[in-house]
């Protein structure tokens, strides 16, 4: 198994030499759970496989390899799901969206759709989806769509205008027809965290908030990966037989450290969240993929998406007012109530699209994934890149990557992730379950009914390093007030349980600034009232 130093290594190894001033404002140290460093300088870690990137793909690979009994370590520069996996609309694709433009991707989607329903039922809401044709879309595309669904093995049923309106009364009465497909809603946080948790029980290890600083090359391989704990400053020298680059939009950036390149197109997709759930089902526009085509119900809200804007830089991006207007204009053509809806947040993610050559519209680039053996391609024999793909095909991507690894390692260890349900698969976490527990404990978040106990459980599991880590693992700050009340309470609880150190008000201010990024683009109507309340509290009463 993974070994390092004298007595093996503690994966949640924490240092006491951290430089206090270099922390991001959001850092919140859960100090009591930490161990004091026994090492000076950088720490050596050895592992069979090193996976870089904690998105759905990386976590999926960690689970797959762990189930195959191959010792693996995952490192991630932020928290799990810091990239595209945590910043999408949570559409559990049937493949319908791609049947016409990219039948191969569509076939992968529907196959994985069927598998995930079995192995990850707790992450999926089986809502079904409609592809709605409006008068201007005409019946031609719809007919091609139905035929393409048939060819790609995606179940599709044509519904008349009246049938569609009966099931989804919020649809515009002017619609021509709707095609029903097995779309759904998926909770990417639950999915990725379940994968990581499951991997851990089979011996997989991970280090969060740990970024790669350089790749030391030796002849035809990567000899050592230098990494750094970005919160505490701890440095690691990691030696691994094989290295998997699962960094999504950052794939090219990582490869540059080895002097390699991969042609990636970074495509920004922006989304809006309404303060209530507008439909029961996923609503898609039945036309060639374009902006503002998708409305996905997600727990108590709906998510409207998306746009597609080419980016040069994976770090600095925001939702523009033009995107907001476009999303509202387009989605309200299907659900007119969106015109008057209250929004609680805008956010954007980056699709990591693999590009064989420069093309025009990013939507023309395959949503399929790409697996690169840099041994064959570039002569670096222990490096693999997996990128592109969809959230719904994360498991297949992990399977193919792990198969390639086994082949390279010359071992026979078959995949079992399509058969073994994820831990937590019996768990229910819907609104009904939350309502049942009301009144039994303090409710920290009144918008999403998050109980104090629930947060305490997450804290007990430990390993959390900052405020965002906690918010990722609960529904805190995901409701109407976007954490305006509950984060104040959370900081109080962390302090009272001796888990936080440092200036809580700096963390609070940092949170309010993070929150602001998502709120500023949607401030009109009732959202302005909420904003006035928040400013009245934090600038007024509390003089922060």
């Amino acid at each position: 198994m993974t070994k390092g130093g004298d007595g093996g290594f503690e994966i949640y190894f924490l240092s006491n030499q951290r430089a206090k001033n270099s922390f991001s404002e959001l850092s919140l140290f859960l100090d009591k759970q930490r161990k004091t460093s026994l090492f000076k300088g950088s720490m050596k870690l050895q592992t069979e496989i090193l996976i870089i990137g904690g998105g759905a793909t990386g976590a999926g690979i960690l689970r797959d390899l762990s189930l195959r009994g191959i010792p693996s370590l995952l490192i991630e520069k932020g928290d799990f799901l810091s990239g595209a996996s945590g910043r999408n609309h949570g559409l559990f694709h049937s493949g319908g969206r791609y049947v016409v433009s990219d039948p191969e991707a569509a076939r992968e989607c529907i196959a994985e759709n069927r598998i995930l329903r079995k192995i990850a039922p707790h992450c999926i809401e089986e809502t079904d989806g409609f592809f709605v044709s409006l008068p201007e879309d005409g019946p031609d595309f719809r007919d091609r769509f139905i035929q393409a669904c048939k060819d790609a093995n995606v179940p599709a049923h044509l519904l008349s205008r009246d049938e569609a309106l009966f099931l989804e009364p919020g649809l515009t009465p002017t619609l021509l027809s709707a095609v029903k497909v097995p779309d759904g809603a998926i909770d990417p946080f639950e999915l990725v965290l379940s994968n990581a948790k499951d991997a851990e029980t089979y011996g997989g290890k991970f280090l969060l908030h740990t970024g790669v600083t350089s790749l030391l090359m030796e002849e035809n391989k990567v000899k050592t990966v230098l990494a750094k704990d970005l919160l505490h400053g701890e440095e690691y020298q990691i030696e691994a037989s094989h290295i998997i680059n699962a960094t999504g939009a950052w794939a090219d950036e990582l490869l540059k450290l080895a002097g390699l390149r991969v042609a990636m197109a970074l495509s920004k997709g922006s989304m809006l969240i309404t303060n209530q759930r507008l439909t029961h089902r996923v609503i898609n526009r039945c036309r060639p993929p374009s902006d503002g085509d998708i409305i996905v119900p997600n727990h108590t809200v709906s998510i409207l998406g998306t746009t597609s804007v080419r980016l040069e830089d994976a770090e600095n991006f925001e939702v523009t007012p033009q995107e907001v207007s476009r999303l509202i204009r387009e989605t309200s053509r299907m659900i007119p109530a969106i015109e008057e809806a209250r929004f609680i947040r805008a956010y954007a993610g980056i699709r990591p699209l693999f590009q064989s050559e420069e093309k025009g519209d990013d939507r023309a680039i395959s949503r399929g994934f790409v697996l690169i053996d840099h041994g064959k391609k570039d002569g670096i024999k222990n490096l693999i890149t997996i990128t592109g793909g969809k959230l719904v095909t994360y498991r297949l991507m992990a399977e193919k990557t792990s198969d390639l690894l086994c082949q390279k390692m010359g071992i026979h260890a078959p995949c079992s992730t399509h058969l073994k349900p994820l831990s937590g698969a019996g768990k229910f976490s819907g609104l009904k379950d939350r309502l049942k527990t009301l009144g039994k404990s303090e409710t920290l978040c009144d918008c999403e009914l998050v109980r104090k106990e629930e947060v305490e459980e997450v804290l007990k599991e430990g390993k959390l390093k900052n405020l965002q880590d906690i918010l990722h693992r609960t529904r805190l700050a995901k409701g109407t007030c976007q954490g305006g009340f509950c984060v104040y309470r959370l900081l109080g609880i962390l302090n009272e349980s001796g888990l936080a150190e440092g200036d809580s008000n700096n963390i609070l201010k940092g949170f309010l600034e993070e929150r602001w990024k998502g709120i500023r683009p949607i401030l009109w109507g009732s959202a302005v009232k909420e904003e006035e309340l928040m400013e009245g509290i934090y600038k007024g009463i509390f003089n922060l």
Binding site: L491, N495, K509, W524, G536, Y538, I541, F542
Partner: protein, 409 residues
Amino acid sequence: MHYDLIIIGMGLSGLMAAKTAVEAGKKVLIIGKGLGCLTLFSNTIDVLGIPLLAGPETTRLRDGLSQWIYDHPEHPYGKVGVEKIEEALSSFNSLFPPPYTFQSRNETNSLIPTGVGTFRPTHLIPSTMMRGIALKEKKTLLIGFKGYKDFYSQRLADSFECRGATLSLPESPPTEITATALARWMEQPSFREFIGTEVKKQIRDEELIGFPAVLGVNDPMGVRKDLEKKIGASVFEIPILPPSIPGMRIFNRFKDRLIRRGVTFLIGHPVSKVTLNEKRCEGIEIAHPPVTTSYSADHYILATGRFMGGGLKADRERILEPIFNLPVSQPGSQEDWFGRSFFDKHPIHRMGILTDSSLHPIDERGKPILENVWVAGTILAGHDCMDEKSREGIEIATGYWSAKKAMEG
């Protein structure tokens, strides 16, 4: 029904206007769609908390205000003037005779501790909060309650460098505890008996005991006195997240006094229509389905607050005043309303209803629009009350001044 004056809006500015008018013998109707924002934000009376006045050892408020008005003639304070602002504040104070009074220290601002571990410069401080000013000099114990999620004594104690304790309450109900419930319980002697005993167990050598601002709604000084007797140390309150119990005390005091003096209160329904004729308002309608009632008056005061109060509304393009459709100063398109950082001074906060010096609404060319309508409170343009820490000061001063002007007109 006909009145001398109809006031639309039941926040602090509307209540001040009602007080001023009824004391001059006028027949007054005050209409509120809800209870106003007093019960959300207000605890002390902030008048102007700009850096010059951010205490503790600072300029007298009067001098700071004069300078401010000189530098900001378009600010609502500029229309009222220092002398009338002081008159308005003493009129407010007259509603709060001892024991529960609002006072300043040496006519300057003081810094009071807040529920997030900061200090806020403020002017008139209720008796129950006054001792908090000494928190830095005296050994202090802060008390929170298990199950009450809006006050964390330990976290505050870390910020204020003092001690904190959390009390478990007797027969705590299974659900969480709210500020209003705590305030109600505080008014029961048996509850105070329990709190007194428990605090005594926690106390070491502290002279000051800080509670969240929940020491009763009706008789906070009685509650405090009794707690002090039982604990054997001085007690003070710290302002917290909404709802504001001190704000309720202010609202209740106004309501009781004004009703006794003959003001008619109409709570719970918005104004659905106003009838205008040339440059005058001739009447208003209130829809409480299935009935619609009409009221009229010689004078009207609009004191409906900003977005929270419903005085202003924003669609995706512009900001509107929904009752009289008065012109609102616009800070550009929606993208320009808010700055890039939460803690920026956002341009949207400075916009509002433009008025002349007697608080008559005016149009873009500076011409009065309605000759029997006046505007008061935070809906006015030209201030940023959150940034300036001037919310209650503006409400009291312009509420008072609008009613004075209405009675002249």
